[in-house]
């Protein structure tokens, strides 16, 4: 690891100021940054820890069932939160798919998102939750919808000095589900990940959201598939169409894990399965 200067600010403003400098990196859980620094793929001159800044952790549920998750909240807390499990099952399931318990005790949901890996396991769940990303900087605060946050692998709309502070999950869906395609049961990175969230109205799908991870340069919503579903009953034929539409919306790459073709096929298969499960949950 290259040497660096270490800062542990106690206010967001101070953190933002430090982070606006050149070659600065934020340290949340460390599970990506520390490993990157060891591999010399990350060589920051200053590392700014966020752990001493108050107000960045915790999960709070409002009266309208909207949920706010502090960016520094451990992934393990998200996984175990009863409210998230109930209202945003796909997000809890995605959180549980990250690494090991030891890693999830360190990793934060903000870090998982800010790292902007297309394969991040919490991202599909946040996409289908329509999460609003709250961002702070010296200039104040702004909010970005999660599906507008990412611009490419490892790239976001965040500008120097901007720090994600929390995620607001406004509208709980009545049923959601996340499936990750992998080889090992745990400790695998997602070959692909699919989340679906459904609201049912009298046997038909009132609202559907489909989030796809590791199938494009950024995590994406499968909007055409979502449109197909709206107003219809979740019949096997319809879900099959939706799976095909989601596969068509994906633009995966071939890499050492598997081929682009396999990824696309799995989008098809797993979209169907997540929709099936999510609509079952939404109906039940």
């Amino acid at each position: 690891m290259k040497s660096f200067e270490f800062f542990e600010p106690t206010t967001l403003a101070e953190a933002s100021r430090l982070f606006a400098e050149e070659h600065a990196q934020l340290l949340a859980g460390g599970t990506d940054l520390v490993i990157g620094m060891k591999a010399l793929t990350e060589t920051p001159q200053s590392v700014i820890s966020l752990q001493k800044i108050p107000g960045l952790t915790g999960i709070t549920t409002e009266a309208d069932n909207s949920i706010s998750i502090g960016a520094m909240t451990k992934v393990r807390e998200v996984e175990l939160s009863a409210d998230i499990l109930q209202h945003h099952t796909a997000l809890a399931e995605g959180a549980a798919e990250i690494g090991s318990i030891q890693i999830r005790n360190l990793a934060t949901v903000g870090g998982n998102i800010a790292h902007a890996s297309p394969a991040a396991d919490t991202v599909a769940g946040l996409l289908v939750a329509d999460a609003q990303v709250h961002i702070a900087s010296a200039d104040g605060e702004r909010t970005v919808p999660i599906n507008e946050l990412f611009t490419g692998p490892g790239e976001t709309v965040l500008t120097p000095g901007e720090i994600i502070t929390r995620f607001r999950l406004p509208s709980p869906a009545s049923g959601s589900h996340y499936i990750k395609h992998k080889i090992r049961e745990v400790m695998d990175l997602a070959f692909i990940g699919v989340a679906a969230a459904i609201n049912m109205d009298n046997g038909t799908i009132a609202e559907a959201r489909i989030g796809l991870a590791a199938v494009a340069p950024t995590p994406i919503r499968a909007t055409e598939a979502e449109e197909l579903l709206k107003g219809n009953a979740p019949t096997p034929a319809l879900l099959e169409q939706a799976g095909e539409a989601a596969a068509a919306a994906s633009s995966p790459i071939s890499d050492l894990r598997c081929s682009a073709e396999h990824r696309r096929e799995m989008v098809d298969v797993l979209t169907r399965r997540t929709l099936e499960q999510a609509s079952e949950r939404a109906s039940g």
């Binding site: 340290l27 599970t31 490993i35 360190l106």
Partner: protein, 159 residues
């Protein structure tokens, strides 16, 4: 780069140290304190050999910068046995043959202890899943699971 003052409570002992920010908690434990029971198997958080318990939570110490652990309570494999008595998890690993080369064992024991502390009522299937962050290359896991279930049972019945 300048070393920073760090206070760690390790196995109940307080250590006031000056460490470089780039040193991981694992490196501090092994190289600075000399507690070599915690092992480095991959250095990327993927094998679990470096698992220690920080403020009650099992973490992979190779992913933690030592400076960020200041003020925290750390338990390592060396701190598990007390008053000449092995911890029930340690005892169970011996009795079931839950180790072979022993290199992954400290990490497995610490991860198992944290899991049992959190919830000793897990099923075998749940323990298998929850221990997925620890790699053992020798045992094929069968006897490790026997050990963990045995220790969980022991802890459940005595507390």
């Amino acid at each position: 780069m300048a070393k920073l003052p760090v206070s760690l409570t390790i196995n109940g002992d307080e250590h006031d140290l000056l460490i470089e920010p780039r040193k991981t908690l694992l490196a501090v434990l092994r190289d600075t304190i000399g507690l070599t029971g915690t092992k480095e198997g991959c250095s990327t958080g993927d094998c679990g050999a470096c698992t220690v318990i920080v403020d009650g939570k099992a973490v992979t110490s190779c992913m933690v910068l030592g400076v960020t652990a200041s003020g925290k309570e750390i338990t390592t494999i060396e701190g598990l046995a007390g008053d000449g008595e092995l911890h029930p998890v340690q005892q169970a690993f011996i009795e079931t043959g839950g180790y072979q080369c022993g290199f992954c064992t400290p990490g497995f024991i610490m991860a198992s202890k944290a899991l049992i502390d959190e919830n000793p009522d897990r099923t075998e299937e749940e323990f298998r899943h929850a221990l997925g962050g620890n790699i053992c290359r020798c045992t094929g896991y069968t006897k490790i699971l026997e050990a963990v279930l045995k220790a969980a049972e022991e802890i459940r019945t005595t507390t």
